[in-house]
Symmetry: C2
Subunit: 247 residues, 2 copies
């Protein structure tokens, strides 16, 4: 059994193509999930095409639980989801992937076991399988074109799981080198202001103060590294040298 | 030109396999996006393998803008994102897909044009391309296994776009038939209470009130349709008939 962190089991029901099983394993492991259960795969088990496609995620197939019925696959679970379009004629709550994975996260944190079922490629899940689910997960696809395949559906569910559980930093700027300090920005601003004063850039006098304020604001709202500041000093020094040679 | 709703352009930079271009088109159209730009595809344009793979999303390829350089592809855009891993040696803001698409949505709503660039399959994007981007988008994959291909990356970005822009109902239960009204639930509760009273279910007397409350609570917290209520009435009536036959 895997020893990874608490997570839902992904249950592939009667999958057909080995390639799709392998691609599903990759999709899971891309987002750190490694508990797969496989119900009655059409081409038997193990499946060499699945192994070939899984490549770096092959361990998921080695560790996968093979069972013959959907009932066995989910028997130990407290909350079971079916990924499918809305079924006709069955009363069932339909959740977005986001809502489903939020609830899965909370239930797993409370000690429950959660399974997410994926139907076979062409036929989709049968009502008999769907009736075992506590709720349905439906990806909000374009109603004019809903063609998600098994591996894509697994990928999106795994992505949502990670989005709801990983500590994600949504915005981060890593400098290649150190950020410039305020002292360095101040020195840069003064350097430009002095030289541009000499070059009579701040013209006419009535606008000079406003122009200086705008220039200072420009420097301070740029996220500049120390290397950036050196480049900007260098540009100005070179222009001054060039002017002096021309004289 | 497509006449669809405001949306980012997805820019495929020097894509190699036609199948991947077609799969990218499918991924986009699954979530309602249809503005593709293609920069210098390796195997020329149009690409019959791309068309074959795109099937129902073939219109995106017909309408795609073909250009020879990344500069041309994004020249009319105000905000450009590069989907790639964190580059070494370039200072750049890195966003999650979620944050990127939230900002893309807001900028597009304010009238800006946004492009999202995807690199070629094996090599990934070159620093020369990345340097044109205002920010980087990085999918929060498992650091031990980051193997998203071009079409998967497009799919995830398109999914996030739809998640940030579609009016999505996160939880919905559609009844197959009408929901039971309070009057019908009340009649059901009374039916069971009366019959079970006769059958001496509420025993011992000291616990009878608590048992009745629990049973009423059970009915009222179930989301029952009118058909469900009829089934529950029928079960009880049948048990009573069976008892009467036995007498």
């Amino acid at each position: 059994m895997p020893t990874s962190s608490p997570q839902p089991a992904f249950v592939l029901i009667r999958p057909q193509m080995g390639e799709n099983i392998g691609a599903a394993a990759r999709g899971m492991w891309n987002f750190g999930l490694d508990r797969m259960r496989v119900v009655a795969p059409r081409d038997g088990w193990p499946n060499s095409k699945a192994v070939a496609m899984a490549s770096g995620a092959g361990r998921l197939l080695d560790d996968a639980q093979l069972v013959q019925t959907t009932a066995e696959a989910v028997s130990d679970c407290h909350w079971v989801l079916a990924t499918t379009a809305r079924p006709r004629g069955l009363t069932k709550t339909v959740l977005t992937p986001e809502r489903a994975m939020t609830e899965a996260r909370d239930r797993i944190a409370a000690g429950e076991r959660v399974a997410i079922m994926f139907g076979p490629e062409r036929a989709g899940m049968e009502n008999d399988d769907i009736a075992r689910a506590n709720a349905i997960v439906s990806v909000p696809v374009n109603p004019d074109f809903a063609s998600l395949n098994l591996a894509q559906c697994v990928l999106l569910m795994a992505y949502e799981w990670r989005r709801q559980t990983a500590e994600i930093i949504h915005e981060q700027t890593e400098a290649a080198g150190d950020w410039a300090s305020q002292v360095e920005i101040e020195a840069l601003a003064s350097h430009y202001e002095d030289r541009l004063e000499t070059a009579r850039f701040f013209f006419p006098d009535t606008k000079a103060e406003g122009m200086k304020t705008n220039l200072r604001n420009l420097w301070s709202r740029m996220p500049l590294t120390r290397a950036d500041v050196q480049i900007l000093h260098g540009i100005l020094r070179q222009m001054v040298r060039w002017k002096e040679r021309d004289d």
